[in-house]
């Protein structure tokens, strides 16, 4: 027992590692604050193109979505960060993260939102258009609000995955939480920093998990 506490819940080690763990936590927060909105924006664009564009655009959006769901995000990130410079394009670490997540999580959010738009009855668009609203106005004020509501649990669930996925940013030299924890572990030969990172992720994501359950219960009750 004492050995277990020493290896996993070691107060001295935690105190020592705290500064870099805190820094990593801030990086993870910043990465999430960038990747979630970018992914959502990409998702909205893809969902609109794949449901409401002309036929050619719809097909292109669907192919785009397939492509970026099939490419592992880690590969995409490494390519953007370490591959593009060979073409004379250097987007930097943050640029690579922004572009990579826009492409990857945008494709996932896009699929969720597309399903949401598909769940809104066709009569809603017809009613809106019959009053003189343009297609864009109808999408914005009538279709999208209902679409988002219909897939809210899935959107939040996807967001959870995006936050966890930010840990891959360490491959482009952004010292996020998991990376810092491993650094601390290597320096101290002790697993406590990893446990601390797990607790930090939990505290960050648990509210989202609760939110999903509540939304799902509400959706069930609404049936």
């Amino acid at each position: 027992m004492e050995e277990f506490l020493f290896a996993f819940l070691n107060g001295d080690i935690l105190r020592e590692a705290w500064p870099i763990l805190w820094q990593g936590f801030l990086y993870t927060l910043a990465l999430s604050a960038i990747t979630v909105p970018l992914g959502l924006a990409g998702g909205v664009i893809l969902a609109l193109l794949s449901t409401s564009g002309p036929r050619g655009i719809r097909l292109a959006a669907a192919a785009w979505t397939d492509l970026f769901r099939a490419i592992p995000p880690l590969v995409l990130l490494v390519f953007l960060y370490a591959g593009l410079p060979f073409a004379g394009i250097d987007v930097g670490a943050w640029g690579a993260v922004a572009i990579g997540f826009f492409l990857n999580t945008g494709a996932y959010y896009g699929e969720v939102l597309r399903a949401g738009i598909g769940s809104v009855p066709a009569g809603q668009m017809e009613a809106a258009r019959s009053t003189g609203l343009t297609r864009g106005q109808a999408l914005r004020h009538v279709i999208l609000p209902q679409a988002v509501r219909n897939v809210l649990p899935d959107l939040v669930s996807n967001t959870l995955e995006v936050v966890k996925l930010t840990s891959i940013a360490s491959v482009v030299a952004l010292p996020e939480l998991l990376f810092q924890a491993r650094q601390a572990q290597n320096a101290t030969y002790n697993a406590t920093p990893i446990v601390a990172a797990a607790v930090a992720y939990f505290l960050l994501l648990w509210p989202l998990v609760r939110l999903i359950s509540r939304l799902e219960n509400k959706a069930m009750a609404g049936r």
Binding site: P121, G123, Q124, E126, A127, A128, R129, S130, T131, G132, L133, T134, Q137, H141, V142, P145, Q146, R149
Partner: protein
Amino acid sequence: MTRPAPSPAAAATRPIVDARGLWKRFGPLTVLKGVDLSVAERELVFIIGPSGSGKSTLLRCLNRLEEPDDGSIHVDGIELLSRATDINAARRRIGMVFQSFNLYPHMTARQNVMLALRKVLKQERAQAEEAAARALDRVGLAERMDHYPAQLSGGQQQRVAIARAIALEPRVMLFDEPTSALDPELVGGVLAVMRELRQDGMTMVVVSHEMAFAKAAADRVVFMADGEKLEEGPPAQIFGDPRHERTRAFIRQIDRH
């Protein structure tokens, strides 16, 4: 483009709706086969016919929710099918009420009415709120303004839908089976609102199976079958002395219900 001379009856008042030679195909199915329909100002025209006759499609062509393959549609002097026509501007003058109400479920009754006032007519919030309140009052729902559609009965929802359309002060109102989705005891309230609109001089085109209402309120009844207009005339003639065999069969069948 030359147009056929108007019939003597229609010459008295310029028709508000003037559709000519409408054709519509869905894949292998031809649902409109060169249909003409002209509606004069303040006229209430009833379109009846068996299901699949094309009557709803005809109505939906009149605000271009359905795109005819051929023909022309003038509404209030504007050619709807011309590429140069701003269809959104034209639709402001054409109100439509649907069988399934199609209220926006995430908005209150008043917000449902306000949306187009704000976004299409670009009214200020206060002005739109007032106009929406007036429209809802006209359909007898002033007290339910802040209710969401799910909190209203089917009849009340349909009256909100009517308010949403009339708030834009359209020149003509299209009704696509407005009472077909309603429980029998809720039909009366919707018909009462339609009767009042009629008394206020609204031009109306109604696709419906409410024959009693047609007999009492319609100026003209159009009978359609298989994508063609087979017969039209005053309700007394269509219901009392139909000329066409198909009309006779249809009326007999309806009367039995």
